[in-house]
């Protein structure tokens, strides 16, 4: 049985069609990442599944039921930091335990277990305003780990976290995945999406590709990526590089360009020569395997996020 099933799901705000007939099937225990740039409709889709928004048309089922009839299975972590900063971590979790109707003693036991699980036992009595971004996000994820929750919907949980906090957070998600919980991760970060068993790429309200991360990369035809840092960035430089790139698509980054090649060894010296010819010096050249962000770019010519 599909845990999450949508058929021709649409959502309109006035004349603006945010979702254009999304068909999504997520199986029980699956870790599914929905990746797309800002404004692509991924948060709208997540909030419809979480029963916070209504679709304009189409069908949506959670365990074969309407979302509002399946709330007891759903754990939704919105983008915003919803925990109360002037309460302690433990008080925040006790609040949610109370809302879910646990008696005080049982709530206390479950909350202590959750704090232990997310590694916040020692900071349980600190106010959330004294937590780091990563600690706060882990606390908020704990609000959906109460017994009975079978589907987690995490909306951009790693946005704004530093690399160390992000690693810790993703470690926690990895542990949750082992418990066979269905996870829907909303993200614009390719490295986060790569942890999923399946990734859906969404752009302008449409699901444009969907598969396992490696299969997506393979089917995109991308072999290697040359990351070039240049002394100057200009249209002329981009035009030169595009001649060496798949479908003439070059991704501009903060410090240079990403060029998609089938044969890096052959292309690299030619690229250096071509840049020299127009008076542009390549200050650094690195070869990388393509990321999901590169796949997204080659499919849409849009960046999922700024690549540095």
């Amino acid at each position: 049985m599909d845990t999450i099933y949508t058929e021709n799901l649409t959502k309109k705000y006035g004349d603006n069609e945010v979702l254009k007939g999304v068909n999504l099937r997520i199986k029980e225990g699956e870790f599914y990442a929905l990746m797309g740039p800002n404004g692509s409709g991924k948060t709208t889709l997540a909030s419809i599944i979480a029963s916070v928004r209504s679709p304009t048309s189409g069908k949506i089922e959670i365990y074969g039921r309407k979302p509002e009839k399946a709330k007891e299975f759903l754990g939704y972590v919105p983008q915003e930091n919803f925990s109360s900063p002037i309460l302690t971590g433990k008080e925040n979790l006790m609040y949610f335990a109370g809302l879910l109707g646990y008696p005080k003693k049982k709530a206390e036991r479950i909350v202590n277990d959750l704090l232990n699980k997310i590694g916040l036992s020692e900071d349980a009595d600190k106010r959330v305003s004294d937590y780091s971004g990563g600690m706060r996000k882990r606390l908020e994820v704990a609000t959906v780990l109460f017994p009975g929750v079978k589907i987690l919907i995490l909306d951009e949980p790693t946005t704004g976290l530093d690399p160390s906090a992000r690693r810790k957070f993703l470690g926690l998600i990895g542990e949750i995945k082992e418990e066979k919980t269905t996870i829907l991760l909303i993200t614009h970060i390719g490295a986060d999406a790569e942890l999923a068993s399946r990734v859906g790429l969404i752009d302008e309200g449409e699901l444009i590709a969907e598969d396992a991360p490696e299969k997506l990369k393979k089917s995109s035809g991308l072999k290697d990526v040359i990351n070039i840092e240049t002394a100057i960035k200009s249209e002329a430089v981009a035009n030169v590089l595009s001649k060496f790139s798949e479908k003439q698509k070059v991704l501009e980054t903060d410090v240079g360009y990403r060029v998609y090649c089938r044969d890096v060894e052959e292309a690299t010296p030619n690229i250096v020569r071509a840049l020299d010819a127009i008076g542009c010096k390549a200050t650094r050249i690195e070869t990388e395997k393509p990321s999901l962000e590169d796949v997204f770019f080659t499919l849409t010519e849009k960046m999922v996020r700024e690549v540095s």
Binding site: S51, V52, P78, F82, I86, L87, E91, A97, T143
Partner: protein, 253 residues
Amino acid sequence: MATLNKTIKEFLRQKTILFWTIAWPILWVLIGSFSYTENVPSELVSYTRGAIAISMSVFALMTAGMANLPGNIAQDRERGLLSKLMSMSISPWRDFVGRILALVAFSSLAAILVVLVGYFCGARFSYTLIGGCQSIGFFLFIFLASAGIGMLIGTFIKHVHGAIMSGVGIAVVTAAVSGVMAPYSSLPWMLQQFARIYPVSSANSSITYLLVGKDYAGYNPLTTAQTTLTIVISVLLFAAGLAAYSRLCWRKK
């Protein structure tokens, strides 16, 4: 109980809320009790101080209902907590009851503290047991009207600062023009009519009438027609706030 616990802790731990709801009215009780009674005949000073303490406790209830409650609602909306709650299998009514009970507890604490400070500054009241009970009833209607206005503000003004400032503005302006902060007799005719319609002001006059005396109320607010008007408008404001909050704040987008 969960929402009650959370909301009361949030009220009690925010210094600005404590200041504007408790310290500010107390400050005015102190200023009023010692500065505004210089020209009052000595036998009336304690009752004048009583009237000031009542007005300031009413103002504390107004601030709690009209500013703290919408601020709390707007804050929960702004930080995504309302979306989170909508995704959970909990009833909006449980959330509503928790918020209101927290407000009742916090408002009562504020009003009692203000009256106590007034008492220690020499405020005295003359009342019967029935009059005292009736006064508590009128305090309840002030609470209902203020909370109703607060829920309307919290529903329609989305941002925290906007909601709080609107609430403070409405509380201060309406208190100033309706006789809560100034004697009813000093108001122009138009504002006297407003003071009779505005339930917070008419209930304040009723409490003053019952606990201090008719001279301080400025008119007899305990007529059947006036009392009915006070009760009906208070309940209507609360019902309007409740309807707006439960339908609009918890409505799927």
